[in-house]
Symmetry: C2
Amino acid sequence: MFYEVRSGTVRTYKLLSDGRRLIDAFHFAGDIFGIEVGAEHRFSAEAVDDVSVVAYRRSRLAMASDMDPQFGDRVMAATLRSLERAQSHMLLLGRKTAEEKMATFLLDMADRLSDDEHFDLPMQRADIADHLGLTIETVSRTLTRFARKGLIDLPASSRSVTLCSKAALQRLEV
Amino acid sequence: MFYEVRSGTVRTYKLLSDGRRLIDAFHFAGDIFGIEVGAEHRFSAEAVDDVSVVAYRRSRLAMASDMDPQFGDRVMAATLRSLERAQSHMLLLGRKTAEEKMATFLLDMADRLSDDEHFDLPMQRADIADHLGLTIETVSRTLTRFARKGLIDLPASSRSVTLCSKAALQRLEV
DNA sequence: CGTCCATTTGAGCTTGCTCAACACCGGTGG
DNA sequence: CCACCGGTGTTGAGCAAGCTCAAATGGACG
């Protein structure tokens, strides 16, 4: 089985035995996730908000690839995109500072969630923290620091963000 | 183009603009690496020691898949294995402590480099550090701590390692 | 209005980093 | 032979980024 998000946001994650969590990716409408080698999945998936997802049997892949080569190509492309994302994310997790992580995250979300500079984050601080290898507190503090510096605007709701200076964030991102 | 290691060890890595490095993987004999979507590569590869590598043109993939489905399968499997490894490595980078990282690394190397509990690391401390998101000093200190605890044996040469207690390392690994 | 949950903020601590010195080893040349 | 050297690895001391623990704030909803 593998999956395609129709609407909403899905998080895929792994846990350590003591409960520490790493969210390896957020998946939005149109994203394909959960393609694997073996029979059983090596990570879990959860809905972040209200979600609609399509599930495909894996056997469909081989079959569909014959009938509809486009479909096979799309799945291969999705797999390679996951790999690319994972590789960039390893660099972030292993070598970026908290500020650089947040800057990268905000720019990525802006890119994927909005046409302009404003968007609403579907996930809560704990999800962001577990995605960036930080704690909730560090995420929160870094966001307020960005706001104080005038890089972003955090109107009331705490989930909505406006990027005031993408250029400055890109500089921070390294 | 993508590549297959015949003998020796290859490291693939990414850099931040100021030179911070993350080695996303080490590739040993038989490993396939460097499969990508776009035209240009998004990471660099270097020989860790004396290496022999086979390069395949990407066009060969589509072509060969028709003539030799086995080959296409092998490449797809390699891609999925890279993705799996990247996902586990994200958990390591984002959520494991220095000791847990080293324990995981040693067990992985033992698995891939040796039949028993003894092996020689092909890479230097700086490579290990940049693979685990640590500094050289922390790698070195963690290894000596493991040796003092009797978990491993570090005979003279500093590149050779014997695991005295895989079980204990597995417990540390979380 | 009170409760629950998410978020923010503060204070102090710890892990892992930085900077620095030292040890070790293989190669090179006087 | 051995002194020197560069590259690699180890060890020590002090520091700081980010964590932990704790409390305060602020909505959303009944």
